[in-house]
Structures are given as structure tokens and as C-alpha cells.
Symmetry: D4
Subunit: 218 residues, 8 copies
């Protein structure tokens, strides 16, 4: 039968259920979280404002909120298998919410996560001071708005896969992230995969799909 499609489910053990809060009412989010936790699965809610968190906490007092990442996590069931090392780098402070969405998601999905923020290419020495961190990583998530050039420089320094997240940070000719997106797609460095503008969650999900491979029985 078609159930075979889900044959990898075992590998997913500990992978959280995810709720994308944008466009949902607070009531809907609470209801969904309640249902999912009932399955004894960890639940990650993204794009969650503080009032959504308050409502979730009223039901699950152990819910963990990140103001910056706008994420809520309710841990349940067994923890995910240890996977790999994910480094999250960002160019500017305004990119932090997206970077933190990626970092929190990667953690919840069972990765070791380190952050390396504010290393924009206009001060290249700040980046060059971080070569040890780059070596440590199995996968690198690069979050950058405005001109988005950080992904190219990092991918030039690293052999590992680089996941590039353009952000909507900027003004004028940044066109809400389009400039950074195009920069990343046209990178002259190889080894870069790009996700949607501001999609920190998606970057971490792809990173986890990669680190999961390292634990997979051949």
C-alpha cells in the first residue's frame, strides 16, 4: 500500500511537529498545539507573537519562548537523535530574528548549534577571525539581507554545504529581499543551496536533512 511512502518515519523519531502561526488566530494555534502534544510529540511553533505564547503557556506552563526568534517549543516524548554541527552566521543585527528562527529550529531538531553573528563582508577581518568555527561545522547556515554577499565569501572559505537565507532587511533597491536572493542564487562560489526570503525554519530543516544522513546506517 501507499503507507510505504512513510518508511523513513523511524528516522524522523524525535523530529518535532511544526505549527506555522502566521495567518492563524491565537485560538487556532492553541488548539493545534494541544492536539499535537497529545501525540506525545515535541511541538515547535514559528512566527509566534508574544500573545500567542501567553495563550500557549496558559495550557503548557513548560512552553519555552524566544522573543527574538518568535518561536515556542513544548518538549514532549523522546529527544531527537544527536545529529551534527550546525553553524548559523549572520551579516547584520537586523537579520537576527531570521537567524534565531534557524538556530532554534536546528536545536529542536537535534543538532549542536553555534551562532556567529554580525560578520558582514564590509569588515572581512571579523569573518576571518572565525575560521575555527567554520571548521567545526558540518553545515553552515548563512543569513543575510541587503546585498547578501556573505554566503559567497563563506562558501569560498568552507568545503561544507552552505544554506543561504536571504532576508527582507534593507530598503530601497533591496526590494524586500530580492537583491539578497539574487546575489545568493548567482554566487560564484559552489556548494550553496538557497531557501526562501526570511525562511530560517526552512534552512534548519534542510540542514537537518543533511546532518541526519551522517547518522544513517549505510
Amino acid at each position: 500500500g501507499f503507507a510505504k511512502v512513510d518508511h523513513h518515519r523511524a528516522l524522523r523519531k524525535g523530529f518535532p511537529e511544526v505549527v506555522f502561526c502566521q495567518g492563524k488566530t491565537t485560538g487556532q494555534v492553541v488548539e493545534i498545539v494541544r492536539r499535537l502534544c497529545g501525540n506525545n510529540r515535541t511541538v515547535l511553533a514559528t512566527r509566534a507573537g508574544r500573545e500567542v505564547y501567553e495563550a500557549v503557556r496558559a495550557v503548557f506552563p513548560d512552553a519555552v519562548y524566544s522573543e527574538l526568534a518568535r518561536t515556542i517549543v513544548v518538549y514532549r516524548g523522546e529527544r531527537p537523535q544527536p545529529k551534527g554541527n550546525v553553524l548559523v552566521m549572520s551579516a547584520g543585527t537586523a537579520d537576527l530574528p531570521v537567524a534565531e528562527e534557524a538556530a532554534v529550529t536546528a536545536e529542536v531538531m537535534g543538532n549542536h548549534v553555534r551562532r556567529c553573528y554580525d560578520v558582514g563582508v564590509a569588515g572581512i577581518h571579523r569573518l576571518l577571525d572565525k575560521l575555527d568555527l567554520i571548521r567545526w561545522a558540518h553545515v553552515i547556515i548563512v543569513v543575510a539581507g541587503m546585498e547578501g554577499a556573505l554566503a559567497s565569501v563563506v562558501a569560498g572559505l568552507a568545503e561544507q554545504p552552505v544554506i543561504a537565507v536571504p532576508t527582507s532587511i534593507g530598503y530601497g533597491a533591496s526590494f524586500h529581499g530580492l537583491a539578497a536572493l539574487l546575489t545568493m542564487l548567482n554566487s560564484c562560489a559552489s556548494g550553496i543551496g538557497v531557501v526562501n526570503i526570511d525562511n530560517g525554519f526552512g534552512a534548519a530543516a534542510l540542514a537537518t536533512a543533511i546532518t541526519r544522513l551522517m547518522a544513517r546506517p549505510e
Copy 2:
């Protein structure tokens, strides 16, 4: 000193030197290939027309040409370490050149490669017949033009990383690959990294950055 930047070079052993022929004269390509082969490195030339191949073959009679992929390979030095399983899927026959550029590159970089072509989403059963192939893969490269929807469906069926390559195939509102590119960036399935339109090479390079991790000493 700064040479440490290249500390991963050992891992790269067997990684080919690459020549991007587009925008270079035949003479320039031959000259570059000659120099690189002198270093006893395998050389991969992409976007190479037949006349470029003829000129290279005059110097290196063992050069291997793929008319479809428009690639030339001159094998030298030691073979790359065995890495992982890369599946290349494509939606339509017109996407084959890009799919083959990806497949040839992935092979030259030391991966096991399988092809699964002509499985566009308009005939979903063709795709569902290939679940075994999907299970086999460590990384899946999805090549699709026109509406580019194949990446979403495949990423929904697979846990592994999916690398999506939009192609410039189509006409009218495909806007030379823009439609497929946007589709892939907006996928509701997670685990997808996108590369530039028609960039089969880049997809394979990212796939190799991923499969290389599996062999890497922790």
C-alpha cells in the same frame, strides 16, 4: 598564516578542476585544460560545444565528451573517494541537458549516480513507481522547468535533502526559468535548497558537499 584556509584540501582529493567554457574562446579552454592536467588533476569542462571538444581531444585523445550534458572530462590522478548516492530526476525531456550536466558532474566528483527522467507531476503515477529509487538516494537533485512543481512533490515523498534546479525551459510566462525558480523557493515541502536557473553543475557540487560529509571522520 592564511594558508590554513585550505586545510580541507585533503578531503578534496580527487575533486576535479572545473572549467566553465561559456564566454571563453576554444583556444582559451584548451590552454586552461592543458595547464590543469599538467597538475595531474582530473578536469571537467562544462558548457562545452562540440568544436571545443574536438580541440581538446586533439591534445588529450582520452577526453570524454557528452553531447547532451555539453561536458568534457579528462581523467587524471587518483580517483575521488567514494561518497554517496545521488539521484537525478527531471520533469521533461527538454530538461535533459541540465539534468545530465548535474549527473556527469556528480559522477566525476565521486558519487554513485542514477537517473530518473520524464517524471513530471502531470502524470504522478510515473513518479510513484519510483519510490525505490528515492529510498536508494542520499541526495536527490530535481531538475524542472515550466512550473517546476516536481521538487515539492519529491521533497514531500523523501526525507533526504533535495536540491532543486529550475531550468529555462518553457515559453511565455515561464520568463526564462523565473516561474520554476519561484515555485521551488516557495515550496510548502521542507528540505529543499535551490540553485540558479540551469545550474546543473552547482547542484552536483552541493550534492557532493553533502555526500562528502558522510565519509568525513567525525
Copy 3:
């Protein structure tokens, strides 16, 4: 004389008068509804917020409101001729307002309507479980935002006409529905007609133009 242009008016019997509330004041909407009902015609108001509904209900206590679809219906005169079976499918929960605008409109115009929501292509088995519904339909309306790939998959499974409605749901490179629109226009499946972004009403009107043909004396 030119009146002949309206020779099909008989066929239209029961076709509602329609008010597009966006950009009109509450007072204007009430005034228009009052005038149209005076003609003993059923009136459908779309893009109507709750306060508009309250004002209409003060005059027509039997007005029916759908919060989700943002539609008001005041039934008058004879019911429309029975026409055909219209299936409304949608990819994500955020697409529901547009899907419901289509569903309510198709009902008011005299069609049998069924809904099949939350069948995005990232979980293709959910869609494959619905083949009976697809068979039942004479016309299928597919509502999808983000990458909009659902229309292609459905049109590949069905012989019937498919009306594709891109929605403005998404963020970043969805560009307010542009990505979904382009996907649908470039579909490799045939038998698809596309309407404007978020135009649930227009999809239902086209569906009715089609189902009306089935009742038409040859």
C-alpha cells in the same frame, strides 16, 4: 436592436446579482443591495467584512453571512436551475478564505459543491485518497498559494476542466501570489484555465459558465 445581446438572459435565470464590496462604504453596499433585492433577484456580496454584514442584516434579517468567505447572500426570486458538480480543492489552511469565496459563489449560482481542503502536494497521498471526489466533479477549482503546484497534479489526475486560483498566501519570493500565478500558467498538465490572484468569485463564475452548458438545449 442591440437588446439581442442579452438573448441568453433566460439561461441566466436565478443567476445572482453580485456586489464587490472592496472599496465601497458600508452605506453604499446597503444601498445597492436594497436596490437589487427590489428586483427580486438573489444578491451575493463578496469581500464583505462583518460590519458590512451587520448593516445589511439590519435591513434584510434573512441575509446569510460567511465569516470565512466574507460573503453575504440574500436569497430572492426563483432558485437557479440545477447545474453541475463543482469540487473546490485547496492546498493549505491559509487559502481557505479564497476557497470559500469560490465555494459559496458556486453554490449560490446553482451548483452542487464539495470541498476538499488541505491536500497540498507536499503530502501527495492525501490527494490520492480523494480520487472518488475528483471523479464526481464536472469542474474542479484548485486554490493554492505559495508554489501553487496543486493545480498541475490535479489536472494530471483529472480529465475535467480545472480552474486554477493562485492566492496571495506566502511570503518572501511568493511576491503576493505571483509565484503561484506563474506556476499555474506554466503547468505541464493541460486542461487548466487560470483566474486572477485571490479571485475565488471569478473561478466560480467560470465554473458556472461551464456547468450551465450541460443543461443547455443543444
Copy 4:
């Protein structure tokens, strides 16, 4: 099993196999036509230049070519069931190739087809002289480039479904059909479904999906 997906195949009886020649070599097209005719199915090849036709005719001397539509038809097996009346209208003479691609396709698929060309909106009386033709049609295909306004005017005059095909005809701010495409998507008349720029084939396929309904056993 999954074969049920094809349960409508009976209805398709007489529906031709289609080859899209753009991007295929002459040799490939001949080979595909040969294989398909072997199945005793009528074959329609679109986007076929004269030299492709010559090569097909060498094998199938009864192949029928339309220089204008750039279509080749090789009739085989039983003729399609009679379906409905399809009217193809076009705004300018430069739109004829697309209009003819639609007309030939609709004929091969078993419809009665009439043409009504050169009725652009800048001379509205030419269009108003054709009200009888409009009444005759079950489905109307409107082909128009430049500003593409014809679809709105026709859909305002007709109750039947209108399929709008923007063409890439024009220059400057027509942006290769984008202007006409946007016009048609934003039409203030209802009952219009839009297909890709220059996609005469797709318009006829959708028209046939509609006319087929009229013959379908309820």
C-alpha cells in the same frame, strides 16, 4: 492498484497523442510520431517547422501540415466523439499562428470549429457584426496580443466560457505578452480562464475538456 487513476481513459477515446516539437530534433520528432502511430492513435505535432513536416511526411505520406499553425496531424484509429462548438477569435493578423494552433487542435480533438479573425477592439463594430457566431459557440477562445482587451469585450457579450490566450505579439511595453496576460487576468468581465502566452494548444485542450462534459453520461 494505481491504474484506477486512468479510469477516464474511455472518455478520451479519439483524443490524439500530442508531440511538442519545440526543443526536439527532427529525428526525435519522427521517431516519436512513428511510435505513437504504431499505437493506432491520431498524432498531433505542434510547433513544427516545415523541415520537420517534410521528414514526417517521408514516413507518413498522409500527414497534414498547416504552415500557419505549425501543426502536423497524422490521423489514425477511430475519430473522436463529436463534442461541441468552439469559436476562435483573434484581434490582429499577427495573432493568427496562435489562433490557428488553437483551431487545428480543437478540430483534431473532435470539435466543430469556426474562426473569426481581425476583430480587435479598436474597431468595435467589426465585433458587433459577429453576434450570431458568438451565439453559436459553446466555448470561445479569444487570442490577442498587444493590449489583449478583446477577451473582456467578448466575455461581456457572451454567457459561455471564454478562454483567453495572450500572445507575444507587440513591441516595447508589451513585454513579450506580459501586457496582454495581465489585461486578461484582470478582466472586469467574468467567465474567463487564461492560459499561458502563445499557448493555443492549451486553450483548445481546455475547450475540449469543457465540450466533452456536454457529451458525458451524467
Copy 5:
């Protein structure tokens, strides 16, 4: 000296001074109006909200406000020379503010103005009932959003200059007036000049530049 540049000033007699209120504070607008009226010139303020009007009226109790057009007029000095007949047509009710901005401006500039609203091309007979109005006009201003097709049809019916004003009315693929703008630029009818999206004022200024010619001593 350079003053010769202003040699036409005599002809301009009665031409109002104009204040574009958008982006100015209420205080700034009042100050500017005060200064200009001091020159004994009629002042026209466009894009003026009600609170701006209240503030102006406190100083000039004879100021005339149009809520719909968002214009304020303070008449001073001699009236402009009689010029010509300007017809303002619009497609939909949502276009009225722009149409009225054009109509009020044309009046203040000394033209005879007639309005002909709600004559969208989806109901072409409504337009054909207005041929007498079209004949009356020296210049026709056509205001239309969504698909903007009205300009083409009118220009096809009329020999006189047509000034087309696209409006930002619409949603989805109207892209804030871009669709209507492109339609108008690509019109297959000749004799059309296009102004910026929503620029009712500019249309009337151009119309007046034209009607002024009729009074000009040869």
C-alpha cells in the same frame, strides 16, 4: 534674458496655481495656499484630505471642497478663458476619485466638462449609448483600472485625442495599476496619450494644453 522662457504667460491667464498636498503637513498646505492667494491667483489643491480642507476653510471660508476628488479650490482673480469640451469617462465606480480629480481640474482650468462614468467594456452597450457625448468632446479623458481596456475601445470610436489614466484599482495581478498602464500603452487604437497611474490632475493639465490650442491666435 531668460525671462523670455515665460513668454506664454499671457496665455496662461486664469490658469490656477496648484498645490500637491500628498506628503505635506496641513500647516504647510495652509501656508502655501495663503501665499498663492495673496497673488490673486486661483488655487487648486489636490490629494487633500478633509482635515486639510477644514484648515484651509478656516482661513478662506469660500474654499470649495470635493470629498470624492479630494480637491480644494479657492477662486481668485479673473476666470480662465473659455477653452474646450472635455469628456471624462470611467470604467468602474472605484475609479471615481481619479476621474473626479481630472474633472475638477479640467473645470478649474476653464474647460466645459461632462462626466460619463461606469461604462466598462464588459457591458459594451452602455458605452455605445454614449456616442453623442463622444461627439461633443474635443478631448476625452479615459480613467480605468483593472484591465484598462476602455481606452482602446473609446479611441477606436473617436477621432479626438484620448488621454488615458490607468488607476491603481484592482487586486492580485493588477499590480497596483501596472496592468492597466501596460494595456493603455499597448493599445492597438491610435490617438492615445498615457499619464501616470492615478494621475487625474495630469490628464486634465494635458487636456487643457490641448484645448488651449483651439483658442490660440495662429
Copy 6:
């Protein structure tokens, strides 16, 4: 009857028939010209290459060709009524073909035409030397590519209607005339109507619609 639509035909006396050669075969053009001349009407063919001209001349030895404007004129019947003074200005030498298309068309349509070329805004004194010419004109056609700023400066110097023609001249961020088009639409000077990119013919047709008014019996 509907013939009333053509009630202005008398005014059109002497207005030429026009053939737009782009996208027509030489044979088609010759055939159309032959038919139109048979009506004793002057014929203007635009976008005509030299070989088209040769073919027309073989039939009408008195055909007049402009290599630069790419126009053919065959004079027949009575000359158009004298109308007004049209000044054609252009910014750069590369804009000349479009400027000449406008100038030749305006002449054939019965206007007095003067040219004032190579007066780009980067050398403003060249333009200021031409104030007499500006004063002479009833209508000014401004043809400019690249940044298209000439229209604003001219409209600032002149009271008369200005018709702005963006051209596709330029490279890079001129985007085939888009930059010039946007410049002209956003002009801070009033009294400007814009036509399609490279549409010299359309500018002259609008100019003639204006100058015709001056001769029109009130």
C-alpha cells in the same frame, strides 16, 4: 444603424491608410498596399525594410522610401487638410529612426513638421538655443531613450502639449526602454502624454488628433 460610428470620416479626409509591416511577409505588404491604393487613399507603411520597399516600388514606382524612418509612402487622392505645426525633438543620434518615423508620419498626415535633434539634457544649452522652435510648435514630440529626461525639460519650457516617446536605445539598466518610459510617466512637468516605447507612429497620430482640432468647425 451602427454606421454612425464612422460619422467623423469626413474629418479624416486625407488621413492615410497605414500598414504596419513588422510580422508581415513582403508579399502580404505588397498585396495590402495594392488593395489600399485602389481605394485612391494615400498609403503609409511603417517598419518597412529596404527589400519590402523594393517590392512595393516594382508595383508603384512613385513610392517614397525613408531608409532612416523605415517608412514607405504612396501618395494618392487629395492631400490632407493643412493642420498644425509639429516639432519633433530627440535626445541622441540613436533615437533618430523613431524620431523620423514620427516626423514622416506627421507630414503624411498633413502637418508642418520641423526637426530638432541631438538636444539631450546633458548639454542643456543646446536645448536653450532652440526656444524659437519651441514657440513655433503647436505640438511637440519628444523622442528619447536611455534616461528619457528630455521630455520633462521641454515640457517645463513649453505650454503646448508634449508627446513623449521613450525609445529602446541604451543598454544595461535601460531595460529596452523601460527606464525612459518610467521617467516620462513620472515627469514632474505637466502637459505630457506618453506613448509606447519606439512608437513614433503613435506619437504622430496623437499629434494629428490634436492639430486636427484646431481646424475643426466648433
Copy 7:
């Protein structure tokens, strides 16, 4: 070591530290300003609303605020070396905030600054009256929205470097500054460098990089 990168630091003496307030909380801005002033460096904060200023002033009572430029300056340490003459020109009053951001920045960075506002190209004589100012300048910053043509005219009058700042002022087809940006990039006058839309700060920083050269020991 890498410190050599900063060898020009001496030249920078007196160059302010800069805080970009957009996207930062008031608390963050105050904290950063406090830290930077601790280094005895002058601090310039841009894109600062009044409430940010109030909070900064509570700590640094000598902070200087410009409501129009939205800048805060806290002077500390030694004053910058005298550099050169910077002229800031703007086309319309709505461009003033950007022009003032440029002017204040240029002053803080040690330049002599003069302003020349409201000299749009639609009234060219206003600009021609300012030739003395143009002669005075070493660098000219031109700030313009809508069609942005001022940069071309100024660069045509001046030999000095011109820095063009497109602004987002305008509506409709100005597309939030895109029209002005394209105009400036395509200028037919040479000697123009363009910065991002609304980037008054960046223009002044570039101007200072230029004027600094004049003081630099050869």
C-alpha cells in the same frame, strides 16, 4: 598581521561612528550611543524618530536633533579635518528628508555644505540661476524622486563628480523610487555615481571619501 587593513585610520580621525536606527529599539540605540561616546568619538544616528532622540538626550543633553533629517549628533573628541565643499541639490520639497540626511552627514564628516533645494528640471531657469553654487562645489549630491532627471542636467553643467540619490517620492509608476533609480543609472551625462534609493547617508559618505582625497598627502 591583518591590522594593516586599518592603516588609513589616521586619516579617518574625526570621522564619526554611525548608528542606523531603523529596526532597532530605542533602548538598543541609547545603549549603542552610550558605548560609542565612551570611546570619545562623535556619534551620528540616522533614521531616528523623535522619541529616540528624547531618550538619547536624557543621557546626552548636548545631543543635536534634526527633525527633517531624522538625525541625532553627539559631538565628542577632536573635530574632523576640514575637507571639501559639498553641494546638496534637490528637485522637490518631498525629497528634503533625504537631502537633509545627506547634508547633515556631510557636515558631521567635516565638509563645508551648502543646500540648493527645489530646483527640479521642469523649471530649468531655477537651476541655471545657481551656476555659481555649482562652481563652488567639489562634489555635488543630487537628490531627486519621481523621474530623477535632475542628476543628468546637473552633471551636464558640472565637471565635478555628481552623486545621485534617487528617492522613493512619487506614486504610481515611480514604483517606490525605481523610476528615479533607473533614470540616474542611464544618464547620458558622465561623471555620475548612484547610491541606493533614499540613501542620503551613503551619498555623503561617498562625497567624504572623495573630498578626503584632496587633503591626503600624495
Copy 8:
């Protein structure tokens, strides 16, 4: 009189006359060069193919051609005043034609020019090896296609003005230079002025406007 506009002409001494060959016939170019040389001015022709050069050389045997830059120079009159040091950097080999157009132009205009090519950001150490060159320069021209990130990195390392030239090199989502253009406009490094895509000439002209200041009597 207006001649005062040219008061800087003395400073321009030695500045070449420039012919932009694109869109001109060989005959026209030769004619213009002949006329300009007659004025005893050095002439620089850009965008000149080899056959144009051959024709110019037939008249001026001392004409100097650069195949790569596509420039012709005929030296006449006195040499330009020595100005400053201009460094031209480029990211990839495909950018060389644009880089050389800049370099040749800067030389002809009297600057000391050095080249530093193939220093793309994907191999950052190559760039870091060139800090001495960066220190040497008064002005730096950065030429880069694809993602165009080089300008940001260089401007971060240098205090001097940086002139960024996006090139049309790349494919797919580079959109003919748009990606590089946006990158450069959005740079997080300050001190960058951007010119049009592929406009090497314009970059050198701006560089010269800057270096000229250094020689200017205060």
C-alpha cells in the same frame, strides 16, 4: 551669455572627445573621428568592433586598438594633466572587456592605472594578497558580474571612493546584470557609487572627475 556654462573647459584640457560606436555605422564613426581629430583633440572610440578599427586605421594609421576593451584611441594635441591613481579590479575573466574599457578610458584621461583581475570573493585570500595595490589607489573601480559581491568587500577594506560596475556576465537569475546591480546598490559598506551595467567608460569618467579634484587649485 550662456557660454559661462563652459567655464571649466580649461580644466578639461587634454580630456578626450568620445565616440560611442554602438548603433553607428562604420562610415559614421570614421566621419566623426575625422572631424574630431581635426580639432586637434585626442579621440577615444568605445564599443568598437575590429572592422570599425580597420576603417579608422585606414585614415589614422597611428590609431591604437584594444581587442579586449573594444576601444580605439587616436592621440592628438597635448596630453592630459597627470591626475591620480586608478585601480581597476575585476571578479572573473568574463568581466575583462568591461574592466578593460574602464582601464583604457582612465589611461586616456590621464590617470595612472593598475589592473588587479580575477579576485572574486569566493577566494578571498586572492584579494587579501592585494592590500598594497588597494593602498596605492586614489580611486578603485570594481567590475563584477554574477552576484557582484566584490564591491562590498573592497569598500570594506578601503577608505577611498569605490566605483562599482555591475556586468551582464552570468546566466539564469543574474537577469543580464540586474543581480549584480542590486547587490552593489545595497552594499552594507559605504563609499560606493554605482554606474550602469557594463558601463566601464562611465566608471572611468567618474574616476577622472574625482582625481581631477586633487590637481585643482583650491
